[in-house]
């Protein structure tokens, strides 16, 4: 199987898939809510019409802007709004419906949120990744709400026999100011459903100064109470009558295969009912399962115990020699030789040759595992040529496609119910675990839950890549940087789709390599080859992590080399306020967004640096053993700058007294959730900087749980993380929040460590490098 033959078919990567016009079914039927709902009618495709363009239309299945798909009003006035994106902790399941409620003048306390199942023909693209939900859906959701409002107003005007211009919706009712008459949304629902859906282009959106909810941050997430009482339902919480519990032993080496197995001891374990082979696909095979041996039992504990008793012989295959220490040396060697040139301005070779001083930094970042608290898990019930899935998936539409394809049944026969996700971070964009459940359920003829243990999760992840970033910066006599060569070497995510993919895909090059925002006369970015020997996938912020680590560490190194303040050096390199042009780059990737709406704007980049320096007290005096570090990075079309204060004691123990982050993410829905994302990004950034390392020996992952792949715990978390959001006007297009907080953290920390100790760390994780 070679899915990348047509790269345009990759989901969520380059998003160049034509919007398909597929007829849609009625909202009543597919929402699965009891009757009494209106605004339900056969639906036609309608495109968003916005003041600014986004890449939403280029995503698989594009965008659907239709109140009849997303809004239902019951006669008692209850408004049900569909959340079609997956909730993994960003708050999207609350924020997008809140936008609809805002525009339609619904009272949030009378709104219920219904989670869409995977159906992109109906809802538009559902890939919850790439920090895209708000930037792609703010305007469409406003239009959906405004359409519903217009239909309610039209229905009321007709009832009263007055012109529609004389009535307006206010807080869950429509009022006719002149006569003082008013009708609740519930009373108008049936009539409103008969009104034509207004033309999107003619819709009048609310004036942002009249917003009740947007931009305020005082609405809590809809699942808050359920979470605190144990009633929130995650993928792992799905229970069906007659459901069996399964765990799978998978090949320990990527691309390995099952040779033979002996299940006799496993079958003796109390509660174990069946042991069977699970189909695997030859690597690389996109998101298809790895195969192996499944143990099926009456509960998960029995299945795990049964698996422990299996005797299995594997054929490790071609990746059986993958060794992280040797591979690092290979990457370093590649980074020291010329590679594929992906951006070129001026003459970097000549400029480096003529430079007064050349500073070279080589930065290493190992593989990382996602370790979301909820491991991959899925329930499937496959019978009579139909499949129903319950799973915590970031890509419900893609899951539906892949399950249908794997089982050889039409997509219409596959229902994907999207549960809450106990964390995602990109891991749950890949639906291998849902396909495993579908295969097993089909084989045993009953519903089955496939539970990944933590060990499975760590050893069989779609890992963050491993990379060497080498930067050579040339300075003239005055200390001005005149040359910049950045070589980035790392196995590509495309290798998960196609054998022999050895160069970064455009979407990877666009994450902090070719989009360097520095004003330097001679710039060259290169991408030498790197072959993958493990499954590589998206990890929160993706290639931005190693690139920001390298580029922003180099800024610190240059500041030191020229005896300058880090922040001053950074602002000098960014240079004048301007729009960065990437004329020398073939196919520059801008997170799937048009550069017109989302340029690389150095004025905004400078502003977050200046804001964080101001609010975070850059230059303040700190106690002995403490240091301040700063870094800035544009990713997911947002601008983020971070200052970390670090404290290192005389034994080399590192603590973080304070973190300040400034974010410019354009206009926004919920500042309180932005704050929580940035607080969390500091923890994730600190985790990867201190501990993050997945290593291979003999083709096998050497780690398996939180003991050997630690993440930051509360006793080592920053004492305080302050978040400063750049206020912008409501016309500024919204940009990403979920991911961009992560990349600047590690280099800010590393620069702080240098300030505190004079020690320059160029290989992550920090591990024991500070111990004395």
């Amino acid at each position: 199987m070679n899915i990348i033959a047509n790269p345009a078919r990759l989901r969520g990567i380059e998003a160049r898939i034509r919007v398909e016009k597929i007829s849609r079914r009625s909202v009543l039927k597919t929402l699965g809510i009891a009757g009494g709902l209106v605004l339900a009618a056969p639906v036609m495709s309608r495109q968003a019409f916005a003041a600014y363009q986004t890449g939403a239309g280029a995503m698989p299945h594009g965008t659907v802007v239709d109140p009849r798909v997303f809004v239902a009003i019951a006669s008692d006035g209850t408004v049900t709004i569909v959340a079609h994106r997956s909730e993994m902790g960003t708050g999207v399941r609350t924020s997008l419906p809140l936008v609809v409620a805002e525009e339609m003048e619904a009272d949030w306390s009378r709104v219920k949120v219904a989670q869409a199942h995977g159906d992109e023909a109906k809802y538009g693209n559902q890939d919850t990744d790439g920090s895209r939900s708000t930037r792609h859906y703010l305007i469409p959701m406003r239009q959906i709400g405004a359409s519903a409002r217009a239909m309610l107003e039209a229905a009321a005007a007709k009832r009263w026999g007055v012109p529609a211009t004389e009535v307006r919706a206010v807080n869950h009712e429509v009022v006719h100011t002149a006569s003082g008459r008013r009708l609740g949304f519930g009373e108008l629902a049936a009539d409103a459903a008969k009104e034509p859906v207004p033309d999107v282009g003619g819709l009048k959106l609310k004036d942002p100064k009249d917003f009740r909810y947007l931009g305020k941050g005082d609405i809590s997430i809809v699942d808050l109470r359920d979470i605190t009482v144990g009633a929130a339902r995650y993928g792992s919480d799905t229970r069906l009558p007659g459901m069996k519990y399964a765990v799978i032993a998978r090949p320990p080496v990527t691309g390995g295969k099952l040779k033979s197995f002996d299940s006799s001891e496993a079958m003796k374990v109390s509660g174990v009912e069946k042991v069977m082979e699970v189909q695997g696909w030859p690597w690389p095979s996109k998101f298809q399962p790895l195969g192996g041996v499944a143990v099926i039992a009456r509960n998960t504990g029995a299945a795990i115990k049964g698996r422990d008793a299996l005797k299995i012989v594997w054929d490790d295959g071609a990746n059986g020699k993958y060794d992280s220490a040797a591979y690092r040396a290979e990457l370093e060697e590649a980074a020291r030789k010329p590679g594929l040139v992906v951006r070129k301005e001026g003459d970097v070779d000549a400029a480096l040759k003529g430079a007064d001083k050349v500073v070279i930094g080589e930065y290493y970042l190992p593989h990382l595992a996602h370790v979301s608290m909820e491991t991959p898990v899925a329930v499937a019930d496959v019978k009579d040529g139909k499949a129903e899935i319950w799973a915590p998936v970031q890509s419900p539409g893609g899951t539906r496609e892949d399950v249908a394809k794997t089982l050889g049944i039409p997509e219409a026969n596959v229902t994907v119910n999207v549960t809450l996700l106990g964390g995602g971070f990109g891991r749950k964009s890949k639906c291998d675990f849902a396909i495993e459940a579908a295969l097993l359920s089909k084989a045993i003829g009953s519903p089955v839950k496939v539970q990944w243990t933590r060990d499975d999760d760590v050893r069989h992840d779609f890992l963050h890549t491993v990379s060497v970033e080498r930067i050579e910066a040339g300075l003239d006599k005055s200390g001005k940087v005149i040359a910049w060569r950045h070589r980035s070497v790392a196995p590509t995510i495309a290798s998960t789709f196609a054998a022999n993919a050895v160069h970064a895909a455009p979407f990877e090059l666009g994450m902090g390599l070719i989009d360097l925002p520095f004003e330097i006369a001679n710039i060259q970015c290169e991408n030498p080859e790197a072959a993958a020997h493990a499954r590589i996938g998206w990890f929160r912020s993706v290639s931005n992590i190693p690139r920001a680590f390298a580029v922003q560490s180099m800024v610190g190194e240059l500041a030191h080399a020229t005896n300058r303040d880090q922040k001053d050096m950074l602002l000098d390199l960014i240079g004048s306020p301007r729009i960065v042009k990437l004329d020398s780059v073939k196919d520059p990737w801008n997170y799937g967004e048009p550069f017109d709406s989302y340029p690389i704007d150095t004025a905004r980049l400078r502003r977050v640096v200046e804001l964080v320096a101001d609010k975070g007290g850059w230059g303040r005096s700190v106690p002995k053993g403490h240091g301040l570090g700063i870094a800035v990075h544009r990713s997911f079309v947002s601008y983020i700058a971070t200052i970390v204060e670090v404290a290192i004691d005389d034994k080399g123990k590192l603590t973080v007294p304070q973190v300040d982050t400034a974010i410019d993410c354009g206009t926004f829905i919920n500042p309180e959730r932005i704050q929580s994302q940035i607080e969390g990004a500091a923890i994730m950034g600190l985790s990867l900087a201190k501990y993050g390392e997945i290593s291979f020996k003999d083709g096998k992952v050497q780690q398996g749980n939180f003991d050997d792949f630690p993440v930051v715990r509360m006793d080592e978390a920053p004492l305080v993380t302050n978040v400063h959001i750049v206020p912008v006007d409501a016309d500024t297009p919204p940009s990403g929040v979920g991911e961009p907080g992560v990349p600047p953290f590690a280099p800010a920390l590393i620069n702080a460590i240098f300030a505190a100790t004079g020690k320059r760390i160029r290989a992550l994780p920090i591990g024991k490098q500070l111990e004395t």
Binding site: E87, M88, G89, T90, S220, I221, D223, L224, R225, I227, T228, V229, G230, A231, Y234, S236, D237, R239, V269, S270, G271, R298, N299, T300, G301, A302, I304, K305, V371, S372, M373, E374, T375, L420, L421, G422, G423, R454, D455, E672, S676, Q677, E679, G680, A681, A682, I683, M684, N705, F706, D707, V711, V712, R713, M714, D715, E716, A717, P718, T721
Partner: protein, 150 residues
Amino acid sequence: MIKMKINGQERNWDGDPDLSLLWFLRDEIGLTGTKYGCGQALCGSCTVIVDKQAVRSCITSVSDVVDREITTIEGLHPTGDHAVQKAWRQVNVPQCGYCQAGQIMQAAALLTENPKPSHDQIREAMSGNICRCGCYQRIENAIHLASTGV
């Protein structure tokens, strides 16, 4: 036959006595509020309270809790309004929420033992509970709020 009391209710088990309490709760009696996170007492997602003490249910076998009183997140408070639960909501602690039942049970046990924990005591007591979303700052604030009302 193993007997135990879970959220005030008698429960019996006549299967494998080594079955962990976690999978008994989740798979055999459907109390899914208690979560699996690591299976080795490394993350605290599966924390329940056994006779007032926070316990990792993933490494506690059913035979370890014979005749003991077990409280899960579902039984922490009849209306879900334990001081810790209320504080959690007031501070908007959760992101994905998955680890929060374990965090809340750990925090509730801490406050039973030490009604006014200091900053360092909170950080130490909660350091066995991992939150991959990174809600630690708010967890600490919520525990302060639950213990002091401020």
